[in-house]
Amino acid sequence: MSVFLARRLVALFLTLLGASLAVFLILEVLPGDPATVMLGIGAQEDSLAALRAQLGLDRPAWQRYLVWIWGWFQGDLGNSYAYDEPVIKIILERLRVSLPLALMAITLSTAIGLPLGVLAAARRNSLTDVSVMGFVQVGVAIPNFWFAILMILFFSVFLKVMPAGGFAGWDAGVWPAIKSLILPAVALALPQAAILARVTRSSVLEVMREDYVRTARAKGLTFAAALWRHAVRNALIPVVTIMGLQFSFLLAGTIIIENVFYLPGLGRLIFQAIAQRDVIVVKDVVVLLAGAVVLVNFIVDMSYALLDPRLRGGGHGQ
């Protein structure tokens, strides 16, 4: 186990290093002079010089990279160019929207996707199964931002029961804040729920064919008991893996959905930062999001190694 852990930790470290290097190279080294990118070609020479000093462009690139990475460990990412505030403060503020949104979406998609998948598998080829699979096909085909627009049309424009966008803020109370996150969370959760239902269904079906499930039935366990005690629990391993892989789609979705609903989260921040050519913020948020994807997949890897000792061997065949 410790060898496995060490291998995975090294891989995690290398991946994070690679991702941060790529972001740094693309956004800071490739453009030549980031200051010109941020201010535009017609910028005054003295404001260019001031920005170059702020960015530390007089130092060689590798030094700037190390300073930047070190800043991550110290929680000091410098100041945003457009907002003139510490980047870390802006990011933490925006996380207060994005994190609850992502959590709501994951909870919702799990609450919908898992039971649907188990239900469809338990009643294979029934009307229930066919309906669930129909939901899955449509769910993965609907672009989440279009689904969001349809929900705004229905709940905000016609019924007028939900806000069409914007964020009430946590200071306005928990319910108004949560209320402004409901439609976005549903929009994010739908495709995830569909994929989860599909994976859960085929995973449960596969496990139900295993000998130990047949043995359990032969011992006199009812179908329902065999399903819950043996099949569902064992079927969860691939499901957890898929949830980890889906996390990157969820993040991508957040960027789009926050823009549909004008939510002041990380996704909207990164988008505004591009419009304002604030390379400092773009760089930090991209690395944060990419790092989150890598970390979540690492945790998923580790957790299913804990669940299933067979997977702790080499990295092959995965």
Binding site: A22, I270, V293
Partner: protein, 296 residues
Amino acid sequence: MASDGASDGASDGAKEGGLGEVAAKALGNRSFVIGGVLTGVLIVVALVSLVWTPYSVIDMDIAGKLRVPSAAHWFGTDQFGRDVFSMMMVGAQNSIAVSLVAVGVGAGFGVPLGALAAARGGWLDETVMRFNDFAFAFPAVLSAVMITALAGPGAVNSIIAIGIFNIPVFARLTRGGALAIWKREFVMAARVAGKNAVRITVEHILPNVASILIVQATIQFALAILAEAGLSYLGLGTQPPQPSWGKMLNEAQTLMFLAPQLAIFPGVAIVLTVLGLNLLGDGLRDVLDPRLRRLR
């Protein structure tokens, strides 16, 4: 994401019957037929839009703006009086072009990388897989954000962004499939006969993983359509005046109170396209790879 089951079953399913038998099986497969028809219609519409659309998609007619659907304008007109049906025809062409090239980029880099990793093993394999992990950390939207911050928005940039995200998908799948084939007896025989790794890969490995790759390409094509729509919705992809479904939805959202119908048609087009490609992929899998069907 390729399970071992998928790679094991990839070998010779299609070869058992002749081509005619495969075709017969395909026509009897409901997913394949429905998906094929939907995809076929999309391709025809896109091709027709290259030479003809009912109205120009560039010329504006402010007097005739925001018309509801009628015999003259099947899907109505937008805020500049442009014919929505014509714009959607050109949008189809745009979606197909961007997604096709993006998936091509993904497969073009991913398949050789995966085949190389499987053939050589060792540190090379490890390096390719690490590169995969790291490329996987950048969903298309995130790459697009970086590229846009650097070079401004545009269709080419969204192709690159979606393509980059596709590379690890194809690399992983090819590697998984190829590893299983390398252990087979006929590959052993080829090695004994003195063929080198490149020749074995081209002559034996790739033909045997082709069916899973084709199925995956169909699914990635569907994902690319969704990604392209998302990027152009955000304004990071295809730029006006070239119509794109995502951009049309973005504009429709601002007009939601005035002309809600504008928010319907492009969305339906995206759903039907993606649904068609996914069904086609499912059908192809059943047809090319009978051993996987028992799971479904």
